[in-house]
């Protein structure tokens, strides 16, 4: 199945992000174009300060571009109200952050339930879905532990479960292994590969080329400019195509 047949989940054209600091303004993203298709595992790789997180914030509707167009799942994000953006985040995006960003006072399952609370799901269904998500990441035996009682790798898995719980079409991961040692980082990456195989669309942001190689497709970010050569996609495309029931 070729890319063109699949739905375009993310369509970014000529996107510019300018930060204004007093009198000066700084262009962090220059005319970025990026299209992500359903079922893809894309890595955005680049050195620190190149604008990756800025990019992810815009993709995740946490921030708004200065100009250009961004369509998420066919809907133009620009000009949407705060409330609408919150609803989009809730339904379309699953965030996985470098620092896990779990609420320390809540247990694992309560953390995973949060996006479902904001979606307005009733207690019983919410709990069932959260349990299911924790099972997916292999943490069903740690459900009632606080983040402080979990290792870094486990905390990141709770965060992934939280991202999965609402079954959003896109998972956005910003340096998901950045706070982990190599071995647990590998585990988390393996988990993400697994999710990809099961049909999830993933955008992975990293400064580490080795991490980026785990993705199916690599785009490079440097000084706010996004470039892509075919080399990044090649090695994985066959693998995806070989999954029996496709994506």
């Amino acid at each position: 199945m070729s890319r063109a047949d699949r739905a375009k989940l993310i369509e970014i054209e000529k996107l510019v992000k300018t930060y204004r600091m007093g009198q000066e303004s700084m262009n962090v993203l220059h005319d970025v174009d990026l299209t992500v298709y359903q079922g893809e595992f894309v890595a955005i790789v680049g050195p620190s300060g190149s604008g990756k997180s800025t990019m992810m914030n815009i993709i995740g509707c946490l921030d708004i571009a200065s100009s250009g167009s961004y369509k998420l799942d066919g809907v133009e994000v620009k000009g949407q109200s705060d409330n609408k953006l919150a609803a989009i985040r809730n339904q379309k995006i699953g965030f996985i952050f470098q620092g896990f960003q779990l609420l320390p006072k809540l247990t694992a399952i309560e953390n995973v339930e949060l996006p479902l609370i904001y979606r307005g799901l009733a207690g019983r269904e919410r709990r069932a879905r959260a349990e299911e998500a924790l099972r997916t990441v292999g943490l069903d035996d740690r459900m009632h532990h606080r983040p402080s009682e979990l290792s870094g790798g486990q905390q990141q898995r709770v965060a992934i479960a939280r991202a999965l719980a609402g079954e959003p079409p896109i998972l956005l991961a910003d340096e998901p292994t950045g706070a982990l040692d190599t071995r647990t980082g590998q585990e988390v990456l393996a988990l993400m590969e697994n999710l990809h195989r099961n049909g999830h669309t993933i955008v992975l942001i990293t400064h580490d080329m080795e991490v980026a190689e785990r993705a199916e497709r690599i785009v490079r970010m440097k000084d706010g400019v996004l470039t892509e050569d075919d080399s990044g996609r090649r090695n994985r495309r066959e693998a995806v195509a070989s999954i029996p029931n496709g994506v």
């Binding site: 921030d63 409330n83 919150a86 985040r89 339904q91 965030f95 779990l102 996006p115 609402g166």
Partner: protein, 391 residues
């Protein structure tokens, strides 16, 4: 997000920060406790005063006191009884009063003696428990009969039955025909300490020509002012416009005056206490503002997961309301205990009404809304990117 969910979240957060919650509700707690204790005291004393005023007689009573002018210093019994044909006057009770030495056996004591007509019973609402009342025939016959109050009976007769015994009033022998009902304290002097005799006999005994004190009972309380006006018109005709020759006291007015005084006292105390509630509210606002800053990252995380402004606003507002409401509830409990202790220690009456409890609780929750809005709004308006980066 549902409201119940917001409350669950608030309780979780409050429980997770027990010390901070306790400290921030302290101001509210003290404020509410003060309100309850102060208001219970003034309400208690107002009830005390109220019951004293009420014991003066029913609210639907007019009292005419004649101080006299020139030769006419009193009305005759017949003139007084004519007031009965003023519309809405249910009964007229003319009284001749003075003091007399009352003697039984070797015991003698000075008491208020009132010469009355049978109407006294219904107009002054003084009943009897034993024997009979003064009847019209007693007045016609100048009978030397007496009814005595409960205190008079115990002082003169101790455990003896006074009925049928003879006492001496200023040396004149009177037969006791009845004992009055116990009435309790009264500003005007209780009927418990009185001796009642027929009006005609009293005029002789006390060497008083005519009546100087008349009580009128009005059948409709709303009409008492109207009756008062008619009464004053008649009196002024009789005393040739010498308005200082008589005085008409409206029991209703007296009660309203006392009522308004205690009302003012209560509102003043409540006002002072309200200030402490506002101070408590400001305390909560401070803590909530600190809490919003401290929890900026939490707010960012919640927003990244899809929390709308409204959800964050609700979360922090409900938290503020819960803290102030809990403070109010504890304050009510402590204020109630304090009012009981004050009542015992100072041996005054204190009263905590259910209305007061509700108002105090509602007010403290309201303070939570007012002082919670600002911090909650501040939290709700945070931009998710900025909030997430905060550390």
């Amino acid at each position: 997000m549902k409201l119940s969910q917001a409350f669950r979240m608030a309780f979780k957060s409050i429980w997770a920060n027990k010390l901070r919650t306790a400290l921030s509700m302290l101001g509210m707690l003290i404020g509410v406790a003060t309100v309850i204790a102060l208001v219970s005291m003034s309400e208690g004393s107002s009830r005390q005063v109220q019951s004293q005023v009420e014991s003066l007689g029913a609210a639907n009573m007019l009292q005419v006191t004649i101080t006299g002018r020139g030769l006419t210093t009193s009305l005759t019994k017949e003139e007084a009884l004519e007031f009965a044909d003023i519309p809405n006057v249910e009964g007229v009770s003319p009284i001749v009063n003075g003091n007399a030495t009352v003697k039984y056996g070797t015991t003698s004591e000075s008491y208020t003696v009132e010469g009355i007509t049978p109407e006294y019973e219904s107009v002054r609402e003084v009943g009897f428990v034993k024997g009979r009342y003064i009847v019209d025939l007693d007045n016609v016959n100048y009978s030397k009969v007496a009814l005595i109050g409960a205190n008079v009976a115990t002082t003169l007769f101790e455990s003896e039955d006074p009925l049928g015994k003879t006492i001496q009033l200023n040396g004149n022998r009177y037969l006791i025909v009845g004992i009055l009902q116990t009435k309790g304290d009264s500003i005007n002097g209780s009927a418990d300490d009185k001796v009642l005799i027929p009006l005609t006999t009293a005029e002789r005994l006390l060497q008083s020509n005519g009546v100087r004190s008349i009580y009128l009972k009005v059948d409709d309380m709303d009409k008492s002012e109207q009756v008062q006006a008619l009464l004053e018109a008649r009196l002024s005709a009789k005393f040739q416009n010498a308005t200082n020759a008589y005085r008409v006291i409206n029991q209703q007015e007296a009660m309203e005056t006392v009522g308004s005084i205690t009302q003012t006292m209560t509102s003043m105390m409540a006002g002072i206490a309200l200030i402490s509630l506002v101070v408590g509210g400001i305390g909560i606002m401070n803590i909530m503002l600190v809490s919003v800053t401290e929890r900026t990252r939490e707010i960012g995380i919640r927003k990244s997961l899809g929390a709308k402004r409204r959800d964050i606003l609700l979360q922090f507002l409900v938290e503020a309301i819960t803290i102030s409401g809990l403070g109010g509830a504890f304050g009510i409990a402590i204020g109630y205990i304090a009012s009981r202790i004050i009542g015992i220690v100072m041996s005054t009456e204190t009263a905590v009404s259910l209305d007061m409890v509700w108002e105090a609780f509602a007010f403290s929750a309201g303070v939570g809304v007012i002082f919670g809005i600002f911090p909650a709004n501040k939290a709700a308006r945070l931009r998710p990117v900025d909030a997430l980066r905060h550390d």
